[in-house]
């Protein structure tokens, strides 16, 4: 795909990623957030954080399917930053609407409530990823260290899914769908590693 096409596509994808946020704002102004607006805002921002994390983690396995899909990597940072964007909105609902900025209560929650501990952990990972998402950061850290640091994306996604499981009632299995998607994305990496090492061995034997 040409550079020009990628730039044009970015102008389409960027506003598209803002649609869930725009819908929330629109529903907020028209008073159509439903009977439990706080829950609507919390769930919408939470789900989209998970969705953007999964989409950005899907880039690498999909790109490996064909040489023609290499350009997808140019969208990964944007999608990852949207995960951080929705994650921050999600965190804000807790800080503002649930805790009313009560720092003491929030620290108590982090210490006492495992689903909040793991949620805040996931968001902290996203913060570190977002803060080091620039080209300057890559040069500064060096490619190898940057790549290692950015494995935090896996930690963030796993933390997000655990956060969801620890929140739902016993007997309720609604998080199974995102769990299945994350499992496939992680297994695809393992499968690729296995295939790669087999290929390398073959090359070594042939040589």
């Amino acid at each position: 795909m040409s550079n020009r096409a990628i730039v044009i596509l970015k102008f389409i994808v960027f506003p598209a990623c803002l649609i869930p946020f725009g819908m929330l704002v629109y529903r907020g102004f028209t008073d159509t957030l439903g009977p439990d607006p706080v829950a609507t805002i919390t769930h919408t921002t939470g789900f989209w954080t998970l969705y953007f994390l999964l989409i950005s983690l899907a880039i690498t396995p999909i790109r490996r399917l064909s040489g023609k899909l290499v350009w997808l990597i140019r969208f990964r940072r944007m999608l990852g930053l949207f995960a951080f964007f929705y994650g921050t909105l999600h965190l804000t609902t807790w800080v503002w609407l649930y805790s009313n900025f009560d720092v003491h209560a929030m620290l108590h929650d982090i210490a006492k409530r495992p689903f909040i501990t793991v949620g805040v952990t996931g968001w902290t990972c996203l913060l570190l990823l977002a803060a080091t998402s620039t080209g300057w950061s890559i040069r500064r850290l060096g490619g190898r260290r940057w790549t290692t640091l950015h494995r935090l994306a896996y930690v963030a996604a796993i933390a997000g899914v655990i956060h969801y499981w620890w929140l739902v009632k016993p007997g309720v299995h609604t998080p199974w769908k995102v769990t299945a998607v994350l499992a496939v994305l992680l297994l695809a990496r393992v499968a690729w590693q296995v295939k790669e090492s087999a290929r390398k061995r073959k090359v070594a034997v042939a040589a």
Binding site: M23, P35, D36, I41, Y98
Partner: protein
């Protein structure tokens, strides 16, 4: 007391079942076609023609001294579209879309266990047993949201007297219908049906404990537990079992659905208590349903504010361990 019998509705006004089903199909098709052009909110109303589903009957009520004063009831719309009724799905609006499947007429409630003799009560007989009262109660869900609901019913104690329980009856068990027409989302919920709840005898005899047939002056919509349910304003909502078919008087503490799912999180008593949270989240505050998001937060009261009436039931008990 005036209960409008279905026979009083002229046959010309009754939509035939096939028309009604076709209307649903037509609406689904129209909704799909028009989806792009419609806002999400309008789409919601068209895809779910709730008024066609709920054939309400007006109920005549008398005022009650047990009704809560100084509170503003939640809208009928919110009470009937924001429900937890997992037999019809785990989403809050699922029951309002799916509960029409429940056939509430004819309906009988079986009574057995530690009673003089087994009995069966027809729903019409049950509703005529005692004058129906309007009882405005606060309702607090374990998920930390709350409503104010104008229920219609009478004290369960009036009904229990008719059941003639033996002195050996220490607890009452409430069982909901056991005919989920279809599993809503087979992978999403795993509870042991039928839904079962229970009370200690003195809790069941408490005048606030309401045998409930309606809300907002009309029969219960299916999603709110038609045709008969129990309402306990000082306990978390899940104690107030819906669509009852079987009431048992028993010697020992009966199984209760959520307690079975997680004894650590859901105790037998389940009294509203802001200082005890066994679920993952805090119970100190609640979200008032229908309030704008920036002012929905409200402090939760011990026994949901009904401590003056019910605290004596738990005198000398450790509320932290007997959650």
């Amino acid at each position: 007391m005036l209960i409008r019998k279905p026979s009083e509705i002229p046959p010309s006004q009754i939509t035939s079942k096939s028309d009604y089903m076709n209307r649903r199909k037509f609406m689904a098709g129209a909704a799909a076609l028009g989806a792009a052009a419609l806002t999400a909110d309008r789409l919601k109303n068209i895809a779910a023609p709730r008024e066609a589903v709920h054939a309400a009957t007006k109920l005549t009520t008398v005022p009650s001294k047990y009704s809560t004063t100084g509170v503003t009831p939640t809208t009928f719309e919110d009470i009937t579209t924001y429900n937890n009724f997992y037999e019809f799905g785990t989403g809050k609006s699922d029951p309002s879309h799916n509960a029409w499947r429940l056939k509430t007429n004819p309906w009988t409630v079986k009574v057995d266990g530690e009673v003089k003799s087994k009995k069966e009560f027809d729903i019409d007989a049950l509703m005529k047993m005692h004058p129906l009262e309007e009882r405005i109660y606060r309702h607090r869900c374990v998920e930390a949201w709350s409503m104010v609901i104008p229920w219609v019913g009478y004290s369960l104690s009036e009904f229990i007297k008719q059941c003639e329980p033996l002195s050996s009856a220490k607890y009452v068990q409430f069982l909901s219908f056991d005919d989920p027409k279809e599993e809503p989302e087979i992978f999403s919920v795993n509870l042991d049906w039928p839904y079962s709840e229970g009370l200690r005898m003195d809790e069941a005899m408490h005048p606030l404990t309401l045998l409930t047939f309606g809300l907002y002056g009309q029969t219960l919509p299916n999603q709110d537990g038609a045709p008969v349910r129990i309402v306990l304003p000082w306990k978390y909502g899940y104690k107030s079992a819906k669509s009852l078919v079987h009431i048992r008087f028993v010697k020992s503490q009966p199984r209760t659905t959520w307690n079975e799912a997680s004894p650590q999180m859901y105790g037998f008593y389940s009294n509203v208590n802001p200082d005890v949270d066994t679920v993952p989240w805090s119970q100190k505050y609640e979200r008032v349903i229908g309030a704008p998001f920036w002012k929905a937060r409200q402090a939760t009261l011990l026994f949901n504010g009904y401590g003056d009436q019910v605290a004596d039931l738990y005198k000398g008990m450790n509320l932290r361990t007997n959650y």
